[in-house]
Structure formats: C-alpha cells, structure tokens
C-alpha cells in the first residue's frame, strides 16, 4: 500500500512538472521576451515570439508526454502479458529510462493481483474435484466407508448408511466396529489384517468372502464380500477404505439348497440302510436254514440289486447338487485302472445279473496307472453300466473294454447291443434330464447319471462321448489321463494320508488298494 501511495505521489509531482514545463514555462519565456525586447506595438515581432514559444512548448510537451506515456505503455504491456492466453511478452522494466521505479511498483501490484486470481482459480477447481469425489462416492451403488487411523468412520456414502440402517450423521465419527458387528469365516478378520498392515506396509489391499453382518434387532442377517484398501498416513486421513458387496441372497440360497439336498438325501439313506441291512440278514437266515428254494434266492438277489441301485441314485442326487454348487472335490491318486474297473464292475454285476445280463470285460495288459478320484470314477463306471442295462432291451450282453489310445490316454468303452439312441436326442444326453421335457420319457432316468458322469470325467481332464445306432446299441466311451502326466501337479499339492474308498475312508490304510 505504501508503495502505491508513493507511486501516486510521484505521478502527481510528474504531472505538475509537466504542466509547469509545457504550459507555464513557455508563457514565462514569452513574457520575458516581450519585456526585454520591448515589442509593445510590433505585431510582427510579437507573432514570431509567440510562434517560437509555441514551438518550444510543443517540443517540451512531446518530450514530457513521452516520459509519461512510455511507462504507461510498459504497464499496459505488462498487464496484457499477465492476462490469460496472451502472446504479448512481458516487457523489461530495467530498460525504462523514465519512471522505472513507478512501473516496477505498479507491476508488483499487477503481479500480486494476477497471482491472487490464479490461487483463486486453483482453489475453485480443487473444490470441484472434491465435490465430484463426494458425488461419485454417493452415487456408487455399493456401501463405502472411509476410516481414519483410529478406525473412526470419516465418510460413509448413502448405500452404506442404508445398509447399516442408520442415518449418515449417526455413523460419521463412530468407531467402525461399533457400527458394523461382523463375523468373518476365518481367523483373518478385518481387525487382524489392519493391525498387521498398519505395522508392516504403506499401502495394502485385500478382500474377504462370506462376511456376516450381525444385526441387533430383528433385521435379517446380511452376507457380503468385503474389499479393503489401506493407505498409511493419508494427508486427508483417508487411511482405510472399505467397500461391501452384498451377496445375502446368493449365499443364503446356496446354503439352503445344500442343506435341503443333504437333508433329503439323509432321509432317503436311513431307510435304505435298514433295507439293505435286513435284506442281508434275511439272506443269512435263508443260508443258515439251508433253504435252497431257487425262487427265494432269486427274490433276495433282486431285492439286493434294487436297493443298491436306489443307493446309487441317491448318491447321484447329492453329487449333482455338489456339481451345481461347484463343490465337487476330487482327490486324484495314482491307481491301477484294471483293478478299479474290475472292482467297480463286480460291484454292479449283481444288478446286471438279476436282469439276465452278462458283463464281459476286456482290459489291455500293461495299461499305465491313472490319476483318479476313486469314489467319483466308480460312479462314472456305475452310471454308464446302469445306463447300458436300461438300454439293453432283449440283448443280454454288455461289453466293457479298456486300452491305451493313440493320444496316449486310457480309453474305456461301455457297449450295449440294445435299443440305441435317436440322433435327435443325442446332444441332450449329457445335460440334466429335467432341462428337456420332451425327451424326458425317452431318456428315462439316465439324464442325471450321464450329466454327472460328464462332470466327473471333465474334472479328471478326460473326455466322454457316445456313439449309437438305432436297433444296434450304443457305445459310451471316456478317457483318463495317465498318472505320469498328472505327477507334476500331484507333487505340488499336499500329500494326503487319507485313503478314500467307494464307501468311506480310513486314515493311513490301504484298504482300497487291494
């Protein structure tokens, strides 16, 4: 401000001097000439003197005007050069001969104004960015929380407050764990993770699945996935950011589906257990009482076979539920394929026998060992043979054959000489039976078994297919990968010491390796 006053004073003085020099001084010179020369009545002489004085006055005025205008011009250029998008170069004040100090002072003011305008503009745009941040976060259709270093909520968007069921103002400033009472599926909780990252890292991110939100009053429990981002010492205190993905519907549906199927299967299995137990006990009694009535023996066999088939069907229901829920877990072990195939065929032979069907097995010698999950692959064989039995019609033979094919895979074929399958329904054979209502009666109950067999063979890395001719029968074939090809994978996984059999498992025992 002082500078500005000084500049103004300088400018006034300059104006006075200019007025004096260009106006008063020529007038004084004119009067002086008139007095000394005494040109009282000499009009001619007076006119010359007046013209001289006027000329002088003009000359002086032009010099003075330049001395005033040059700094003004410099100032003008200076202001223009500061204005946005101008091409004018900033003038050099040092080169000024007249009014350098004044222009320097004024330019200082211009500079101050310009930088003030700049700051203002930056502040405005900064405010815009922060506004748009809030805007986006609020429109984000996912609950979002921002916590500071003390795990206090400093921001929660609208979906977040909706999710928690509390107004936004009641959430902000509260401890996050007071607002969200969560159950994590494992030891690795948010609390645990935060404690670790705050010590060890600058930034980190992670996520959890199936986190449960425990709500106090009668609200239904919520299940969600949680994603977290941590940023140490954020200048705005945005230390932890949390996004919730609500999967209550999906997760609880899954759980219900599993428990429904599991419970239904349990209800079916209990009477089956008894049925099979009593059939066996009855058979024993017949033996001990030496009853050789062939018809009775035949009835017993039929009952045993039927109960077995029902058990297999119940397992199919359970396994289809597992496939649908992505829960079909396989443990691949090195197995002798001939031994597995024979043992599975023997288990099902009774079912064929009671229908008068003979199963012929041809297995190539020296087959490489295969990497299979015994329990699951048993079901594939069992389903394919059950299928062949159903389709055999009047034919009384089923042929099973296994060899190493040209692709180096262990190929197994189950062949019946029965009805054959119409080409129109072949594409649907390996899909679930209830999907195509028109073909249901034609396919019978096999759709479930074949769907499952495909899922299991696929999971083993093999291929399953069918070839069929109406009236001549069908061949269902599948391949398995030799164990050597899977060895690398097995090596990298945990070595399981549990041996699984078709009907259960025993720790550290080779019961099913006979």
């Amino acid at each position: 401000m002082d500078n500005l006053k000084k500049t103004r004073r300088q400018y006034h003085i300059r104006l006075l001097i200019a007025f004096f020099i260009s106006g008063v001084l020529p007038l004084a010179v004119y009067i002086g000439i008139k007095k000394t020369v005494g040109l009282h009545n000499d009009y001619y002489g007076s006119a010359i003197a007046l013209a001289l004085v006027l000329l002088m006055s003009l000359f002086m005025a032009s010099i003075l005007a330049r001395s005033l205008i040059t700094p003004l011009k410099t100032l003008w250029e200076l202001i223009i050069s500061y204005s946005p998008q101008s091409n004018v170069q900033q003038p050099k004040i040092e080169t000024l001969k007249i009014g350098r100090e004044m222009v320097a002072n004024l330019s200082m003011q211009v500079f101050k104004l310009a930088s003030a305008a700049d700051t203002n503009q930056q502040a405005q745009s900064a405010q815009l960015i922060s506004l748009s941040n809030d805007f986006v976060a609020n429109k984000l259709p996912l609950p979002l929380f921002v916590l500071d270093a003390s795990e206090t909520i400093i921001f929660a968007n609208t979906p977040a407050s909706d999710y928690v069921g509390m107004p936004n103002k009641d959430i902000i400033g509260k401890n996050f764990y007071m607002v969200m009472d969560m159950s994590f599926p494992s030891e690795n909780t948010l609390d645990h993770w935060l404690k670790e990252v705050t010590v060890n890292t600058a930034t980190a991110s992670t996520s959890w699945e199936r986190v449960k939100l425990n709500v106090l009053d009668n609200h239904p429990t919520r299940l969600f996935d949680l994603a977290a981002f941590y940023n140490k010492d954020n200048p705005n205190h945005y230390e932890t950011m949390l996004v919730l993905f609500d999967h209550t519907k999906q997760y609880s549906q899954d759980d219900q589906a599993i428990s429904f199927v599991a419970l239904s299967v349990h209800e079916l299995r209990t009477p089956l257990t008894l049925l099979r137990g009593y059939i066996e006990a009855l058979d024993d009694e017949l033996d001990t009482k030496n009853s050789n009535d062939p018809e009775l023996k035949k009835f017993m066999e039929n009952m045993r076979a039927t109960a077995q088939q029902l058990t297999a069907f119940v397992n199919n229901i359970l396994n289809v539920a597992r496939v649908n829920n992505d829960q079909l877990e396989l443990e691949l072990h090195e197995e002798n394929w001939a031994e597995i195939l024979n043992s599975a065929v023997n288990a099902i032979r009774l079912r064929a026998k009671v229908r008068g069907i003979e199963i012929e097995t041809t297995i190539a010698p020296d087959l490489p060992t295969v990497g299979v999950d015994r329990l699951s692959i048993y079901e594939v064989i069992s389903n394919l043979i059950d299928n062949a039995i159903k389709y055999s019609g009047e034919s009384k033979t089923i042929k099973i054959e296994s060899h190493l094919n040209n692709d180096g895979m262990v190929e197994t074929n189950v062949q019946d000489f029965g009805l054959g399958i119409s080409s129109s329904i072949m594409p649907n054979l390996f899909t679930k039976f209830y999907r195509d209502h028109r073909n249901r009666s034609q396919i019978g109950g096999t759709g479930l078994g074949l769907y499952l067999s495909k899922a299991i063979v696929d999971a083993h890395g093999g291929v399953i297919w069918v070839r069929s001719t109406i009236g001549k029968g069908s061949i269902f074939g599948f391949t398995l990968i030799p164990f050597t090809q899977l060895a690398e994978e097995i090596k990298n996984s945990d070595n399981k010491d549990i041996v699984r059999g078709a009907h259960g498992w025993i720790k550290n025992h080779s019961l099913y390796r006979r």
Binding site: H266, R269, T270, T273, L318
Partner: protein, 132 residues
C-alpha cells in the same frame, strides 16, 4: 462269518452310538456274530460318558444323536484334558452329507468315515476288520 473262538484272539470291544434303533440292532447282531463285543447307546450324553469311562477298541459314532451332536462328542473325546486315556479308534457313521468345514474337522479328528447306506452290516464289519 466265523464266530469268535475264545482264547484265539482278544475280543474287540465296540461302542456304537446310534440313535436309529434298528440300525444299531442290525450292526450289533452282525458285529457280535463276527466276534466283536458291541455296546449300543442311543443317547449322546450317555454315549460320551460310556466312551470316557470304559475302554473300547472302536467307537462307532453317528453324527445325529440326541442331546449331544456327534461332532461335540468327537471334540470332547479328542480333547486330552477331558478324555485323557482314549485308545479307541473313532469311526464316524452317518448318512448326512457334511458341510466342508465339518468334513475337514472330521478328517482331522476321526480315524474313519462311513456312509451307512453304502455298506451293508457285513461290509461294515469287513471295513472295521481293517481298522488297526
């Protein structure tokens, strides 16, 4: 199915905790005929206290029994502070498909697992003959 000849080998004692009366009966009948000495118990709490007080070679444990679940019994039996001198092998017998977490726990804690519907009583005996 040879009956046990006394003196030839020690009779193996089996505790069968199973609430389905008929299944228990069938198992006892077949096991006893095969030379085992089988005790039946339908109640979870009573079954646990039997397992803790008497010595058995094998405990057949159903997962769905009244008053105490099979999993709880399994946990208590495997907790050496609650069951100090357990020498019995614990075989889970169930028809219920297990959730993954429970299945993993069973694999850790039990010596064997049987789906009842999959085995006839005789096949169960064959299975138990192989349990060391």
């Amino acid at each position: 199915m040879e009956p046990d000849k006394p003196g030839e080998q020690m009779t193996k004692k089996v505790l069968c905790i199973e609430d389905e009366h008929f299944i228990g009966e069938l198992y006892k009948r077949t096991l006893d005929r095969s030379g085992y000495d089988t005790t039946l118990e339908v109640d979870g709490v009573k079954g646990l206290s039997l397992a803790q007080t008497d010595q058995y070679d094998i405990i057949l444990l159903d997962l769905m029994v009244p008053n105490l679940t099979g999993i709880e019994i399994l946990r208590t039996l495997r907790d050496s502070s609650k069951t100090p001198h357990l020498k019995a092998k614990i075989i889970i017998i169930t028809n219920l498909d297990q959730r993954d977490d429970i299945r993993q726990e069973i694999e850790k804690q039990a010596d064997g697992y049987v789906v009842k519907a999959e085995l006839t009583p005789k096949e169960l005996v064959e299975f138990l003959d192989n349990v060391a």
